[in-house]
Amino acid sequence: MAMDVNVQSTRTRQEKTIVARPTVHSSGIDPTLHRAERVSAGLWRDAARRLSRDRAAVAGLVVVAALVVVALLAPAIVPYDPIDQSFRIKLQAPSTEHLLGTDEFGRDVLSRILVGTRVALGVGIVPVAIALVIGVTLGLIAGYFGGGVDQVVMRVIDVLLAFPWLLLAIGIMAILGPGIQNVVIAVAIVYIPAFARIVRGSVLSIKEKEYVEAARAMGQPNTRIIVRHVLANAWAPIIVLATLSIGQAIIYAAGLSFIGLGTQPPDADWGVMLTSGREFLRDAPWLGFFPGLAILITVLAFNLFGDGLRDALDPRLR
């Protein structure tokens, strides 16, 4: 079993610790429909209550919400034009005029970080969303139908997992070429195996449950069973994995930008800003410090929330 953290290793750790917790779930034919729905809603309500008591998780959520607001309002709240160059004021230390200093082209670092929030959230959320859709679909199909389909899907997943994440991303980017869209695609592919495996695992246990058997006996079509009964009961670990993956995806994307594969200048991107920060480290340490700090705060916020979510959805793991 070969896997990789930060990328892959956390992935697996998550797969191990997040266990599907099927609940009695409503089916169209269930005579206890009303009660079943209450139980299901209860799981989420309980989780929400536990989550709201977890101060660290709430703090994470507040920071994430603040980042979303900043990303949405960035063009309106930046003090300066983030790509406006002015060599007269290049490499200025933080001051009241430029709170976080200026870069080697005289651009305002704070403005670039604020605008970069959009890219950062985008490269965190979009690849994970893509990976979730594709991975969950593959996992459902593999787990539910088993046999040859399962074999093919899982062998492809095994091969994807055989590449350390950066190598896989580099290989994909060698084909697609540099650029932020391609970073999104590469990071999405890196995450597909994690979702596929966790969903397949859940499906394997859920499909043996009586309510699935009952639905099948009633002659319900496979797609309906998968969506209404199997998927509905496999959501908890998927959501936790997604939340914890977003922070990591931001780090991966920044890493790809850092080695020159991501956002192309002059657009503002925290990873790219770190690259020039490294070049001017001796004379202008703020150039590299602040964008990295922004990454750390963002990733930490997602991780705090994700950890809290995991504890809330599965209290046994506390």
């Binding site: 079993m1 070969a2 896997m3 990789d4 953290v5 930060n6 990328v7 892959q8 290793s9 956390t10 697996t12 750790r13 062998r155 492809v156 095994d158 091969v159 055989a162 590449f163 350390p164 994440w165 950066l166 190598l167 580099i170 290989g171 980017m173 060698a174 084909i175 070429g177 922070g247 780090i251 920044a254 890493g255 850092f258 080695i259 020159g260 594969l261 770190l274 920060g277 490294r278 480290l281 001796r282 340490p285 590299g288 410090f289 964008p291 990295g292 700090l293 990454i295 750390l296 990733v299 930490l300 991780n303 705090l304 950890d307 793991l317």
Partner: protein, 334 residues
């Protein structure tokens, strides 16, 4: 046990073939003609023709695949566009340095991560526990390349404690055997080179160790908490064993098994992290090699590195799995 090892070996074959196929497809999928891509922008007409011949590009695809497999097994990845040297030779030269950096980081992660996790677990819900876990979470959330930049600034530029970049002091002669600098200086008994290469290794290895260290600390804590609640530990305490002995001999020993798995899972991220760390610290190694190759659209070098590292990664995991089967008597592998 033998049966398990054999089965595990057989299972690795389709994965290895899958890797080969993926890398083969990678070159096929690059927009434009593979031979032109492999020869680079400055490649001559003759070079393109020779590469076309070597790759069998005027043959049907399955034959091309066979050609590719043959060159992969003979480690013939062609010449680097950037340096004009055979890629296989360059990979061999950089392999040792990257492995040395990764292993050093793993050792640091274990030496700090395991005790930190044990302390957090034995002082559950105390300030010590919360503090350790907050540090661990920050560790997981910190990009290695940023940690590198910050530490270089503080420890190297400001305090002058460590060299700013490189792998060994300039002007120090070292006979290369394995191309792992610290190991080579030990093998040749060159103490000057040893001191210098260790000095150059400490900071990058520490930076690279932060994420695995944090993960190992978290794993150790939760694994220890699980074990500490077991009956046999109460028995051990009840029979009057010293607390420290109970924790180390009875609890940690059993808690270690999931930790060993976690360590096995760290290799992939270690290698990825090592690539970024080498870039930050300007250390020669596979990572810096492939990053430079990307900048130069040096496809033979990218292809060779991806293939060699992925295969190496599968083999390392194979070893970990086998070692795991050997140390854990409770699990029977069918």
């Amino acid at each position: 046990m033998t049966r398990y090892v054999t089965r595990r070996l057989l299972l690795a074959i389709p994965v290895l073939l899958g890797i080969m196929t993926a890398v083969f497809l990678m070159i096929q999928l690059i927009p434009g003609d593979p031979a032109t891509a492999m020869a680079g922008d400055k490649g001559s007409v003759e070079q393109v023709a020779r590469i076309r011949e070597e790759l069998g590009l005027n043959r049907p695809l399955p034959v091309q695949y066979a050609y590719f497999l043959k060159s992969a097994f003979t480690l013939n990845f062609g010449d680097s566009i950037r340096t004009n040297q055979p890629v296989a030779g360059e990979l061999r030269q950089f392999f040792g340095a990257t492995i040395e950096l990764s292993l050093a980081a793993l050792v640091i992660a274990l030496v700090i991560g395991i005790p930190a996790g044990v302390i957090a677990a034995t002082h559950r819900a105390s300030a010590l526990d919360y503090g350790t876990m907050i540090v661990a979470l920050v560790g997981i959330s910190t990009p290695v390349f940023w940690a590198g930049i910050v530490l270089i600034y503080i420890l190297s530029f400001r305090l002058g404690l460590f060299p700013i970049s490189g792998i060994i002091g300039t002007g120090i002669r070292l006979d290369r055997i394995t191309d792992a600098y610290v190991l080579d200086s030990v093998l040749t008994g060159n103490w000057l080179a040893f001191r210098s290469s260790v000095h150059h290794l400490i900071l990058p290895a520490f930076v690279l160790s932060t994420i695995p260290m944090a993960i190992i600390a978290r794993m150790t804590r939760s694994s220890m908490l699980e074990v500490l609640g077991q009956d046999y530990l109460r028995t051990a305490r009840a029979k009057g064993l010293e607390d420290r002995l109970v924790v180390i001999r009875h609890a940690l020993k059993n808690a270690l098994i999931p930790i060993v798995t976690a360590i096995g899972l760290q290799f992939g991220s270690l290698i990825s992290g090592a690539f970024l760390t080498e870039t930050v610290f300007g250390r020669p190694g596979l990572g810096r090699y492939v990053v430079q190759a990307i900048g130069a659209r040096d496809y033979p070098a990218i292809q060779g590195t991806v293939l060699v590292v992925a295969v190496g990664f599968v083999l390392i995991n194979l070893l970990v799995d086998v070692a795991y089967a050997a140390i854990d008597p409770r699990i029977h592998y069918a």
